[in-house]
Amino acid sequence: MMYPRPFEYVRAGSVEEALDLKSKTGGRFIAGGHSLLPMMKIRVTSPETLVDIGRL
């Protein structure tokens, strides 16, 4: 499989916001995505929310 299950995506503007979003949503951090995205695509893991810390 190469399509992940549906998920929400939010981008954090600061470290504080990132921590806040993660605790509120129970989601997972994504930075580059080289490990997480393939795992999502083969549906080994399916987080409900991705908190993007790539631009921090």
Binding site: M1, M2, Y3, R5, P6, I42, R43
Partner: protein, 792 residues
């Protein structure tokens, strides 16, 4: 005007690819399009107890779900048939191959159901909601093991899992010659399974037009007309003239896109059933478990050799893995494209070969770049190396002793083929010079004195490309002739559209074929467009595989061009009031003039316009300028090659460092040196991939352990030195271009050359043979075992 043949014209197709303007099946979006995803078996062998699609059908956005039984029973009066095998060797056992499994699944990836949904994401989600109750059964994955007593049967109708047994040659004479030989070297080895990994995964889309009751299928195929034929005659039962198959830009095939695949049946069925266009695009994961795979042989071989190095006889038995179903050309590969190549470039007087094609619970196996011929070359060259080592002879010296002499062509081998032409002595001279063979051996000697593991590998190989003629191909089992068609349409302004039955999926036909046609007429290459890959535009076609396009597709174009030049001469003669015999076609200038009167001249464009003005044509001549030809070659063409590789092995890690590589190939006359060099370079890289890294591995339960790019080791640029290329040109005597196949030669020789180099490096340790891929781990273990007093 310059001539284009033999020059490195830049590829005219590349600007669109480089700018992202190529149009692939996956790019296709039609109004109201729906998307398909296929539920696949996670088990290699199981009984399907039940399939419950209720929850999947209830998911918002799901339009329909079909199972294998739905396809067989059909809907609205149409249904699907079994996928046929297009190469029928004698006594072939051909069990049904349903587009979606019914009753049983037979390999991981076997399709069970198809979901049609509003988006690919919804379709994928719905797959999780299909409940399939599978009752696991034991599996068999090994080609020889499949014939063992008690092995699980893939198909109840195939006892011992045997699809066919194909012997060729005089076994009695071979056994007698072996018994009289001074030495017989024997080896049992594996030619491992490979996975093609074209850059673009397969895709299929379809649209049913109820108004005309016609179907359009877009598919990533190397041969769209063959797919149309099979859809019409076997799998969909829609009349052939009501089917249009389009293979637009296709991102590589390497053989894996020749075959008729289940999705090419399922998607049109679904499109017709739901009344909407439907598209399916394979994920890379699906490619690994559904694209036909390559090689996978277990072989026992005996080569007889006398003290003076003369090879006396070769005896070979191979068990060839066919996978769970017979792919379209599966039985062809280990038979007529393998055993017939056992003579190599040598005059071995007697040869016997036999292949057992067996069913296993694995993905079907079919042609993969080289297709049988790399397996044959690896076999022959490995045996020759062993013979040289046994005799203490230089492997090149032993080869030279056995070469077919240059004056022996056409040469009849003991295994059916008649080689058209060759000059192996010249090939050897050139490769020894290019590679610096003698100095490589001296370097090796010095390195060995220091205890270093340096190896020099040599491979001299033959290829039979462009299987032909049709009468022979059909006699061997092909279900269709192997000619090619080419049409040329000259427009009123002298611009030219060429319609070819060959298909380009990376080869550069839009350039090389334009070079051929531009030269035929003496016109600018920019005035020639090549059309391929559309059954509604191109008259007919056999397609591109087996290194056949230049020699066969190109020759068909030459034939059509000759007809057009003849017509142009007649028009010119009429208008210049001269006789046709006096007309001279200047292919440098694109003009026709009266011999001895250069002022009495007409240009190509003037004559093209005259043909449609049609007010001043010879009596009885039809207007217009369009000709079509169907070219059926007299024979295969026989490219040859000699490659040299030098490796050094790290004794601590077993890692192979490929330090130099030189290749001399003879692919006959070369149309575009840059393109040929690119194909040979790419082929070498692919061949080295098999020697060192690639391995399609199934565990005993039939799970593919190397089912992604994380676990299947593709060659990478950092594994290669700069590769030295050169060539000789021995034109094929029987086609008008003198061309031979170039697409597969690199792959065929490189596997043998690099394996030879590694085994040469390890020989001082007493290592006699290692199966490919020659990974660091495997070599490290062999070195360790040798250190403990034993090689393999």
């Amino acid at each position: 005007m310059t001539r284009y043949l033999g020059t490195s014209v830049k590829r005219v197709e590349d600007p669109r690819f480089l700018r992202g303007l190529g149009r692939y099946v996956a790019n296709l979006t039609l109004p109201n399009m729906a998307y398909a995803a296929v539920k696949r078996s996670p088990l290699a062998h199981a009984t399907i107890r039940s399939i419950d699609t209720t929850r999947a059908k209830a998911l918002d956005g799901v339009i329909a779900v079909f199972t294998g039984e739905d396809l067989l029973e059909g809907t609205g009066g149409f249904k699907c048939g079994s996928l046929p095998c297009g190469f029928q060797v004698p006594n072939l056992n051909m069990p049904p191959h349903n587009p979606l499994a019914v009753d049983k699944v037979r390999h991981v990836g076997d399709g069970i159901a198809v979901v049609v949904a509003e988006s690919p994401y919804i379709a994928e989600d719905a797959l999780d909601l299909i409940e399939v109750d599978l009752d696991p059964l034991p599996a068999v994955v090994d080609a020889r093991g499949a014939m063992a007593d008690g092995a699980p049967l893939v198909h109840d109708s195939a006892e011992q899992n045997l699809a066919f047994h194909w012997p060729l040659g005089d076994e009695e004479a071979v056994n007698e010659a072996l018994s009289k030989s001074d030495h017989v070297v024997e080896l049992e080895f594996i030619n491992q399974r490979l996975i093609a990994n074209a850059m673009e995964p397969r895709a299929a889309a379809a649209e049913w037009d109820p108004a005309t009751e016609s179907l359009t299928v877009w598919t990533t195929s190397q041969n769209p007309h063959t797919i149309r034929l099979l859809l019409g005659a076997f799998t969909l039962g829609i009349p052939e003239h009501k089917i249009r198959v389009i293979s637009p830009d296709v991102g590589g095939g390497f053989g894996s896109k020749i075959f008729h695949y289940p999705e090419e049946v399922i998607v049109p069925f679904a499109a017709r059933a739901v009344g909407r266009p439907v598209k399916w695009v394979a994920t890379r994961s699906e490619s690994y478990v559904t694209d036909a795979q390559g090689r996978d042989h277990v072989t026992k071989a005996k080569l007889g050799v006398n003290n003076d190095g003369t090879m006396t006889a070769l005896h070979v038995t191979t068990w060839a893995n066919m996978g769970a179903y017979l792919s379209t050309f599966g039985p062809l590969i280990p038979t007529a494209l393998y055993i017939t190549l056992f003579s190599g470039v040598y005059k071995t007087p007697v040869i016997f070969g036999e292949a057992y094609g067996t069913f296993t619970h694995t993905v079907p196996v079919d042609a993969y770049r080289g297709a049988g011929r790399p397996e044959a070359s690896y076999l022959v060259e490995t045996m020759v190396d062993l013979a040289a080592r046994k005799l203490g002879m230089d492997p090149v010296e032993l080869r030279r002793k056995n070469l077919i002499p240059t004056d022996a062509f056409p040469y009849q081998t003991p295994v059916a083929l008649m080689y058209d032409s060759g000059n192996y002595q010249a090939l050897f001279e050139k490769i020894e010079e290019l590679s610096g063979y003698e100095s490589l051996r001296k370097e090796q000697e010095a390195a060995r004195a220091e205890g270093r593991l340096v190896g020099v590998g040599f491979a001299s190989c033959i290829e039979a490309s462009g299987p032909a003629p049709s009468a022979v191909a059909v006699g061997l089992g092909a279900a269709i002739g192997l000619f090619e068609s080419g049409a040329i349409r000259v427009h009123p302004t002298g611009k030219v559209t060429v319609l070819t039955g060959s298909h380009s999926h990376g080869q550069g036909h839009e350039t090389t074929f334009a070079q051929i046609v531009a030269d035929q007429f003496g016109i600018d290459i920019a005035d020639v467009d090549i059309v391929h890959g559309d059954t509604d535009r191109v008259q007919y076609g056999i397609g591109t595989y087996g290194s056949r396009s230049a020699a066969i597709g190109g020759s068909a174009l030459v034939k059509s061009a000759e007809k057009i030049r003849e017509k142009l001469k007649q028009i010119a003669a009429h208008q210049l009031e001269a006789s046709v015999e006096d007309m001279v076609y200047d292919q440098d200038e694109g003009t026709i003039s009266v011999a001895g009167s250069p002022d009495m001249v007409k240009t190509f464009a003037e004559l093209a316009f005259a043909s449609v003005l049609a007010n001043n044509l010879p009596e009885g001549m039809e207007p217009g300028l369009e000709e079509s030809s169907f070219y059926d070659p007299a024979n295969f063409t026989f490219p040859a090659s000699a490659h040299v590789a030098k490796v050094e092995i790290d004794p601590k890690t077993g890692e192979v460092d490929l330090q130099s590589y030189a290749a001399v190939d003879d692919v006959g006359n070369v149309i575009n040196p840059m393109i040929v060099e690119g194909q040979i370079l790419g082929g070498i890289v692919q061949g080295v991939g098999q020697a060192l890294w690639e391995n399609g591995i199934y565990d005993e339960d039939g799970q593919l352990l190397s089912g992604s790019m994380l676990s299947y080791a593709m060659p990478r640029a950092d594994g290669f030195p700069s590769i030295a290329l050169d060539r000789i040109e021995t034109p094929s005597p029987h086609n008008p271009l003198g061309a031979k196949g170039a697409g597969e030669m690199g792959t065929i020789a490189a596997t043998a050359a690099v394996s030879s180099a590694v085994l040469d490096a390890l020989a001082p340790l007493g290592v006699r043979h290692l199966n490919m891929p020659l990974t660091a781990e495997k070599i490290h273990q062999a070195i360790a075992a040798a250190g403990n007093g034993g090689g393999e």
